[in-house]
Amino acid sequence: MSTDKRITLQQAAEIIKDGSSLTFSGFTIWRRPMAIVFELIRQHRKHLHLIEVNGGSHTEFLAGAGCLDIWESCWVGHELYGKYGANISRKVADKQIIVEDYSHAEMMFRFAAAASGAPYAVTQTSLGTDIHNPEYDMLGRAGLRDGKRIAKHKYQFTEDPFFGAGSQVLIPAAKVDIAVLCVQQVGEEGTVRVNGQYYSDPEVARAADITIVMAEEIVPEEYLRRNADQNTIVSFEVNHILECPFGAHPTGMFGRYDVDGAFLKDFYGRTRTQEGFDEFANEWIHGQNHLNYLEKLGFQRMLKLKANSAMNYSPREKKGGK
């Protein structure tokens, strides 16, 4: 009935051009579209502007591989499997990546504004912090604030005229070319059903001009439409879909599999240096495809991560071990 939205993993990565701005589904080390991130690295994508509510392991992969010019967000690390983002940290020190800092709520409200078509949001969070220090407007310092995709100002202050609530900070909508999502189910026409916390997925999908959804499974559209009130994202907000089982690995997915803590610990431990990153990428990314990657991980590992259907997580996974 509708135009076919299916694409391949390779095509998904090709939609993201050198210089695109992009964002992702998920939260820190959960539901990140890693298979597409790996494909972007294989395709040597450059000069990306990553704007995200929060970063995580995928950010570290993209940073280490030299794909990013700009990272606008609030946090990066691997949670308990790696306490900070060593690749971002190294590239910031070397001035290879521009980092623009906002608070977590600010990033969320920036995407919510973009999703509802408003040019900016009004909030009172983080007043008085160095996040609002005018000297630390890094995109401004780099002369990139053209008022087109990147706002003319990092923020503006105003007073509430309605209730005398005091200082308000205005923060620009997060305008982004492409959102790449990784979810449990997508229908043939693009309807998305996320199980568990949906994080900031509905907002980033609507904020982006193009939305790509990678799912554990593509299901009959009609199946999802039987319970419209349980769906998360509307058919027409999704431009492209693909099925990619375990596509979030090494990050986790509610109801499907846990975070592969040992994998992340290994990545964190080995990629403090560029040489270490390159070696890790040669081992796990370059020259591989998604199926080789799964074979390399092996059944034993994946069965250990598999979630129990009643609990939605794996009772076998020891959280990355000691």
């Binding site: 959960w30 308990l80 020190a93 608070s103 160095d130 509430d160 916390q197 979630a307």
Partner: protein, 272 residues
């Protein structure tokens, strides 16, 4: 209440966890970060505050995880929750004024409770870029009280933090950067601020008038002047109430048998 543990029965992490859990009142709405804060809150939920409502930043509201989540994005957060949604919900609830208490961490803190989790050294030429703000400033902006749990080292208790990530009792008014009382800047969004810092040396609180940090209790084995020497600013030690209460045996049992049997966040003390 069960008996207090003997010195050889608990470690420093146990002490911090127990002290932090006592900051929570029953029926309070608490915003919890990953790690030790999460253990502390779940300890309170399993002892004196069975009706506290737990919010996880990633979008789980009134969660009752049967086992310790590894992070706030974890599927474990959602078991028994009232609602699992997303960050817009969690931060809207916080900005709307629902949150009584937030538990946070930090790399550096100053005498006004300003906390840094962004970078060490000059922001424009950082010695070390850290994780970044995360929800630290947001929870700290909106909660009635916030409690920071920190490693105590002299390089962390500083005159001026490298970067104010999270607002204390005296903050910068931009664009000039003048130091002003927090309440003046926050207007009707003002509800409170940092109420305690629990470090590996002691428990610190803040003077309501001056906004300055003072030492409230020393952890067993530490003296006030030792602790003052562990701060780069001139810490007020005139109001010390005594020693930090140590964990009870029941608390230790809950921490190590119920919440964190695998020692993910809190190591067990080797006995004998």
């Amino acid at each position: 209440m069960s008996e207090f543990a003997k010195p050889e029965e608990y470690g420093l992490a146990d002490l911090l966890c127990s002290a932090a859990s006592r900051e929570v009142g029953d029926n309070e709405i608490v915003f919890a970060g990953t790690g030790l804060p999460m253990v502390a809150i779940m300890l309170a939920q399993n002892t004196h505050a069975p009706n506290l409502k737990l919010i996880f930043e990633a979008g789980t509201l009134d969660g009752r995880p049967p086992e310790l989540p590894t992070s706030v994005g974890d599927a474990r957060c959602e078991m028994g929750a009232s609602r699992a949604s997303g960050l817009y919900d969690a931060f809207s609830i916080a900005q709307r004024g629902y949150v009584d208490l937030g538990f946070l961490g930090g790399a550096e803190v100053d005498q006004y409770g300003n906390v840094n989790t962004t970078c060490i050294g000059d922001y424009l030429n950082p010695e070390l870029r850290l994780t970044g703000s995360g929800g630290n400033p947001d929870i700290n902006s909106f909660a009635r009280r916030t409690v920071f749990i920190m490693v105590h080292e002299k390089r962390r208790f500083v005159e001026n933090v490298s970067y104010i990530t999270s607002p204390g009792w005296r903050v910068k008014k931009w664009p000039g950067g003048d130091i002003v009382p927090r309440q003046q800047l926050y207007g009707s969004a003002y509800r409170g601020g940092p109420s305690a810092v629990i470090s590996t040396a002691g428990v610190f609180r803040f003077d309501e008038e001056s906004g300055l940090m003072y030492l409230d209790t020393c952890h067993p084995g530490k003296t006030p002047s030792e602790i003052r020497d562990l701060c780069q600013f001139d810490l007020d030690i005139s109001r010390v109430k005594g020693e930090t209460a140590v964990p009870t045996r029941e608390e230790l049992r809950i921490i190590h048998e119920v919440l964190d049997p695998d020692e993910i966040f809190i190591p067990k003390v080797k006995k004998g």
